[in-house]
């Protein structure tokens, strides 16, 4: 495995001077598979956005080790995409070719085949010519995964990839994520279901603005750490939305 990781140096991101991510340092090693967990408002999504360059850090930095920007693939939360936009499924997936064809070039036959294969992998080939407005939530998430397949990135940053999905879709997409890990790609995913994390993710970052624990999943998801995460979230009145229900369940 080459050294293709992402290093965070004392990373702080804030909105209106209120830090959402506070002094986070550490490395997502190349080929690792890490879940990011924490209470609501813990800065998990913000951390991903800082890593892909959607938000700017106001202190510290994100260092791409042996990687270029083009090798990062980002899966946004569903709410951040305009699902009523008039575009066909295959055109939306084709956006993943951006780094190959840029702003102006047309798709070649080979690139069309890449899109088609990706649609087949996620089981959307029959919908290729349909408008994205016709897709269910689960199908739309399959579409975003197909775009990632087309992008073919070394590092995958997934923001709540399985939120609000039915069991079958979750199973299929989780299978893709595990495949990516097996192929030696780096996977970083914001997740809510601790059972899922314990079952499939070897490494885990637990955060509540500040990192609470970062390491092997077994060493991170201890009752003491989870209590601490919940406590930190509740220490901030006005924004504390309490801890995750899943976490509370874990503790009892």
């Amino acid at each position: 495995m080459t050294m293709k990781g992402i290093r965070l140096d004392d990373l702080t991101v804030s909105f209106d001077r209120e830090p959402a991510v506070h002094h986070v340092s550490g490395t997502f090693a190349g080929g690792s598979m890490t879940a990011i967990v924490g209470p609501n408002g813990a800065g998990k999504s913000t951390l991903l956005k800082a890593m892909v360059g959607i938000v700017e850090p106001d202190q510290g930095r994100v260092v791409l080790e042996g990687l270029s920007r083009a090798e990062l693939g980002y899966l946004p939360q569903l709410a951040e995409v305009d699902r009523s936009f008039p575009i066909t499924v295959s055109d939306a997936v084709g956006l993943g070719l951006w780094h190959r064809i840029g702003l102006f070039r047309a798709m070649t036959g080979g690139e069309g085949a890449i899109v088609k294969a990706a649609l087949q992998t996620v089981g959307l080939e029959a919908m290729a010519k349909r408008s994205i407005g016709a897709l269910s939530v689960g199908q739309f998430q399959r579409l975003l995964f197909a775009r990632l397949i087309v992008q073919d990135p070394q590092v995958l940053l997934l923001d709540e990839p399985f939120a609000a999905l039915d069991e079958r879709t979750t199973g299929d997409l989780l299978g893709l994520v595990l495949d990516w890990h097996r192929q030696g790609r780096t996977v970083i995913a914001v997740l809510h279901e601790l059972d899922q994390v314990e079952a499939h993710f070897p490494a885990c970052l637990l955060m509540a603005r500040e990192p609470i624990a970062w390491g092997s999943t077994a060493s991170v998801l201890t009752p003491a750490n989870l209590r601490k995460a919940r406590g930190l979230a509740q220490d901030r009145p006005g924004e504390a939305k309490a801890a995750l229900p899943a976490m509370a369940a874990e503790l009892s």
Partner: protein
Amino acid sequence: MTDLYGLLIEPWIAYGFMGRALVACLALSLGCGSIGIFLVLRRMSLMGDAMSHAILPGAALGYLAAGFSLWSMSLGGLIVGLTVAILAGVVSRVTALKEDASLAGFYLMSLAVGVLIISKYGSNIDLLHVLFGTILAVDTPSLLLVSGIATVTLLTLAVIYRPLICECFDPGFLRTMGGGGSLFHIIFLILVVLNLVAGFQALGTLMAVGLMMLPAAAARLWATEVWSLCLVATAIAFLSSMAGLLISFHVNLPSGPSIILVASLAYLGSILFGRNGGLVKRYFPQPHYHHRHQGG
């Protein structure tokens, strides 16, 4: 047949001003149709309206400087329109105001200044010209300006088509692809102002935005992809202009409002009968297909 010829064809051929008006409308429709689609997709429909008012003092200042001159009025409108758009954008980024609120502030300021200048220094006839346009008095320089703007618009849209679509659909994705979102936004704003200036020659500040928004909103109820939306909007804009001009010619009505009213009819008709989410389709659905299951 001769009646139909006299009704539908003859006016364009026999009267030079009608022919020129038609060509001006074709050029306007080519630019405004697609621009309107992107305004709708970017949820900036009312922004177009605000901008069309904001260019008034620019045109008025141009009028003060050089009389009823097409180029000076257009240039003035362009400069003031862009200033308002950029000021509104900057204010929304450095203060707590959202872009729509800061834009409303600046465009009202601009509109008041414009009306003030015109009522202080211009005769009422001029005010009417500026407010309602003079499509039947379009001369060759105006035609060149309007068709030049349409050409620039279509070429520029072709160049920034992909990032513009991506920025509407999934702005985060564009950022991860290296960004440039604000650059494309500003280029697009310039195109909006340019097309408003073009429309303002023909239809006046009050009506210019109508040929942009009504066909675009109507097209949304027929087509499902950006390129087909642009085609449908352009077609609706041109056919409305044609019908509006004919009606104004035969019934002796002002041309600008006639054109916009025909476009409004197209809009209302689309709301009722649109293939893609129209009322009839939605509330009187056809029975769905029953596919025969194949295999096990």
